[in-house]
Symmetry: C2
């Protein structure tokens, strides 16, 4: 029996379907409020979206934000956050929060020691201390954090990977997903499943079907953008996303850039998260309607005008490129802040424009227009 | 003839005098608006008050801010700022700005090569490049920056210094002050004189009298808090400040902490600037009504409650000490921002409370009460 009923903690209202693609507009209701999709979730890895206050995030239009169970478990520790009233209270964010399970971090950031069906033993990236996590303990961590959406603990494979490695990771993720679902008790929290299988269509389809069989109120596509050619990722997205039960949110983990969003939305993805806007912002690069702008470059030393003439964010309304270039050049934190703010604002605004275009039946023409301008300006 | 007339760019209205001390409340009008004194000016050394946006500063109650001609001259260069519309436009601050002349920086930060009556040759702290500055060129730099208040180029002496060294620095500062005044042409900018003389009362008095004879619309006390015992600084403040013409603003340069402010206000000082709130903020220390709080300390790991229960700033209204401690511990910029914001807010709020106390005739009792609570809580 395929159980695709929504959890009591989450419901999805399908507002609009694009007739020329799989793009759609939905509203997802969580214990801490509503999120309109397609949506971009800013990433607050360590319990803060880097350089931004919660009020900055509200102003930028953020509805749901993401944080990482792995990082918070390592530092400051779940007990600290619990004793301070849970993750929402801890970070001063009263809107919805999704916590990533840490699967990806254990396999990419920490030093993995051993992995068995029971769980993963690893040394933390922070102090090398050894930890052991199981699907059940990762559920418990996220229940204690109190996020609105928790993710199952999954095994990620690198790219490229042998078919046998991909299958083993997929099988283990399925095993862990079932155990996570059994362990999950928190009523005001939705637990999402994660589809693995690399770029192997058959494996992805099997992973999806068997994850749906276990039954979750939402599904994520994991293990993408790990080194595979972008065409492969897009082919997987187009082939798999439309097969996800339509009353469940579809979440593409850890991706990406504006052009990625347009492609994935056309495949039917609802939710996105990525560190790109804040990471690029701190490194001195802005995302704009005219492509990526390396504001740090010396050619902008005396440049008048905003980072993006089409943007109405605080940064673009108040500061010349030359000033921001000076801040970056002088290692002033304000430069990192102003660009991070702009980038987050830009990503969220793009999602608003995408939703509006879908609802007007103009998604494909919007996409085409956006891509032309973005690609023409990129340098 | 003693010329104490106000410049066309600046006027002072004396609103209230304390009857038990030299404390006073004034309103200083500049081309970019009014400042109520006693006042604390946040320091934006490189054209940004570190980690804070202009709107943060407005919200914290800042009226005038300070920036450094020396730093801006070195980087990004005066021409860049001029081509971007002047310092106000450059940094997005439409209120009054005071620029320090760079005298102190040339003698403390840069590597001084030679100093003659003509000017100072030094290697920049940034790239070692050699520069030559004169009283006239420093006036020109500040005219080009377009600040509301400019400072004369002065020679600072270290502490301790021989009487002959102190006198030579004082004489040179007087010589340079007269030349700066002659060179200064910008009508919508006030040029302040700087009184030197170390902790030698006779020298300070002579410096003041002769600076007043040259005639400026405002006077600063320079060369204090350079290593001398605090009692000596306070004695100089009490002896010299009341001798400054009362229709001119009195500015104590580069100082200090809440207790310093109370002492200096009682001597009649109107204007303060210091990097303490932002520097301590970035280092994880908060100024509070209960003294200094090292929020970075591990004892605050699970600490509930705000940094300062008596503070109504954004930081104190929204975040527990434990969260801010986590941010600092995890090297998150938001921690530096939230504490810098609180500290600046706290300093400015203290000045508001001081003005209110003076106007109610309660300055001495306010001071006593503040000091008791502050000293009892300091740890």
């Amino acid at each position: 029996m395929i159980d695709t009923s929504m959890s009591s903690a989450l419901s999805l209202t399908l507002l609009c379907r694009d007739t020329n693609s799989h793009a759609r507009v939905t509203q997802i209701t969580t214990p801490h409020g509503v999120m309109d999709t397609p949506s971009f979730m800013p990433v607050g890895t360590q319990g803060t979206v880097k350089t931004l206050t919660p009020r900055d995030l509200k102003e930028a239009g953020a509805e749901m934000i993401l944080s990482n169970a792995y990082h918070l478990y390592i530092r400051p520790g779940v007990e600290v956050i619990r004793s301070l009233g849970g993750l929402h209270k801890f970070m001063g964010w009263d809107g919805p929060i999704l916590t990533d399970s840490g699967g990806f971090q254990v396999f990419s950031l920490a030093k993995l020691r051993t992995i068995t069906d029971e769980g993963a033993t690893f040394s933390s990236h922070f102090d090398g201390k050894e930890h052991f996590l199981t699907p059940e303990s990762v559920v418990k961590i996220q229940e204690d954090l109190g996020s609105d959406i928790a993710m199952v603990f999954d095994e990620c494979s690198a790219y490229p990977a042998d078919a046998s490695v991909l299958r083993r990771a997929m099988e283990r993720t399925l095993l862990w997903s079932a155990r996570a679902k059994r362990a999950h008790k928190k009523e005001n929290q939705a637990l999402f499943g994660i589809v693995q299988g690399g770029c192997d269509f058959a494996l992805r389809k099997e992973s999806l079907a068997r994850t749906v069989e276990i039954g979750f109120p939402g599904y994520a596509l994991g293990g993408l953008s790990v080194g595979e050619p972008k065409e492969h990722m897009n082919e997987v997205l187009q082939a798999i996303t439309p097969l996800v039960p339509e009353n469940a949110p579809r979440y593409l983990m850890g991706i990406g850039t504006p052009l990625d969003f347009l492609e994935a939305v056309s495949a039917g993805i609802d939710m996105f998260d990525c560190v790109t806007p804040t990471r690029y912002g701190r490194n001195g690069t802005a995302f704009t309607h005219q492509g990526m702008l390396v504001v740090r470059n010396a050619i902008y030393t005396e440049a008048k005008g905003p980072v993006d003439v089409k943007c109405d964010c605080y940064t673009c309304q108040n500061f010349d490129r030359g000033y921001i270039r000076h801040l970056l050049n002088a290692n002033e934190i304000l430069g990192h802040h102003l660009l991070s703010y702009h980038n987050v604002y830009f990503f969220i605004s793009l999602m608003k424009q995408i939703r509006s275009a879908i609802q007007k039946g103009e998604f494909l023409s919007f996409r085409k227009q956006f891509e032309i301008e973005y690609n023409a300006g990129s340098r």
